[in-house]
Subunit: 210 residues, 2 copies
DNA sequence: AGAAAAATGGGGGAAAACCCTGAGTTTTTT
DNA sequence: AAAAAACTCAGGGTTTTCCCCCATTTTTCT
């Protein structure tokens, strides 16, 4: 008997997985949470074999939660689920210890396959994502694979840039010189590996930092 | 007996709703589609009472699909479902003829309530969204309520801007002058009501145009 | 206490974006 | 065929961003 759980802020997602597993006597959905903190605190995880984990949680990024879970429960297998078809996501989740990666558009067949595969100790990555990785590596446009760690000031500046403020306006708001704002902006583009503020806002939005 | 259908590119969403309705002998899920085109072409919609419609579909925006459906099947009630908690979405869906609006985080109880309410000819808007509308009107920061209609060229330019290309590079790619690109950029910022390219990319991403 | 990281700020210049006005051409719609 | 919309391009200017170089002070971590 394989015990499965779900952490996703959309209850329908848990219902969907429950339904997929319905009638299967070898795999059972035994728990579901909506927030990262609930997941971390519930001792029931001790006995879970496979956790489906969404990346977009209200209180913590799925990546950080995955890291924390892997430290605490080394027996647990995490399958990341997301609707965003982006490679930096996959790379970070795998780095954080996830064993599987599925899109929310996955079919019931795929979901069962993934559960069984990770239980056997192997990785399971949906073929659509593999294709994406391949095409990206061919395009050599692979983006910075990690989520950059931003300082407090950088976050503030990034936020204001995304709100369409100019360097001068940001400097006034933060009571610093325009030169300092420019330095932060420069460091941000370096950290994100982008060419300009547009890229900055785009990747920050895609990473859920704004 | 109320007949319900779902159009959502995430199969799990349909499974979730199916599960919510399981055991209910007055409401039945009788069909589900993943793409807008499939929904439009299926004559089965003639006999559907309530359609749950996601806004993010692979081939057409849910808003356009809703409009098309309302013209074709005036008996049909559409309930929009989305994970994005944004008001322009709601306004446009309602304008397009939707009778209900739910977040994907809706509970089974809410879902049943919504189905019954729209069947009685009334509108159903989830309370979270009502709160959002209220707070936005208080903040007087209501964004441009309509999705601007972009021309083909404007979409192309917008896409390239979001990919961090400069005006010169965009001009080269499209075989037009930099001045023309600037004009398109200018028109885009006017249509979106933003101050610069950063705002352009931000709202376009939020509206799901990129 | 010492090292590392973060935050601050400057000069100067090149590139790009932004803003305005105007106008001809092509495509689509009525 | 006429009108409307979309696409095209230009001059000429201002503002902002971007990109080097560099340095000092403040905060945080070990």
């Amino acid at each position: 008997m394989i015990k499965v759980a779900v952490t996703d802020d959309h209850p329908l997602m848990a219902e969907g997985i429950r339904n997929v597993l319905f009638g299967n006597d070898k795999i059972q959905l035994t728990a579901s949470w909506h927030r990262a903190i609930d997941t971390l605190e519930d001792q029931a995880l001790e006995h879970i074999d496979v956790l489906f984990l969404d990346i977009n949680l209200p209180d913590m990024s799925g990546i950080d939660l995955c890291k924390a879970l892997m430290e605490k429960y080394n027996r647990l297998r995490v399958i990341a689920i997301t609707s965003h078809q982006e490679s930096w996501f996959l790379k970070n989740m795998m780095k954080a210890g996830a064993k599987g990666f599925l899109l929310k558009s996955a079919s019931p067949k795929i979901i069962l396959e993934a559960i069984i595969t990770v239980c056997r100790g192997k990785e399971y990555i949906q073929s659509e994502m593999k294709d994406l990785l391949l095409s990206e590596s061919l395009n050599q446009t692979t983006k910075a694979p990690i989520i950059p760690k931003l300082t407090r000031r950088e976050q503030e500046v990034l936020q204001l840039i995304s709100e369409e403020y100019t360097t001068q306006e940001i400097a006034d708001k933060l009571f610093i010189s325009t030169k300092t704002v420019e330095t932060h902006r420069q460091n941000l583009t370096l950290k994100f590996g982008v060419k300009n503020s547009v890229g900055l806002v785009r990747v920050a939005l895609e990473m859920g930092l704004l």
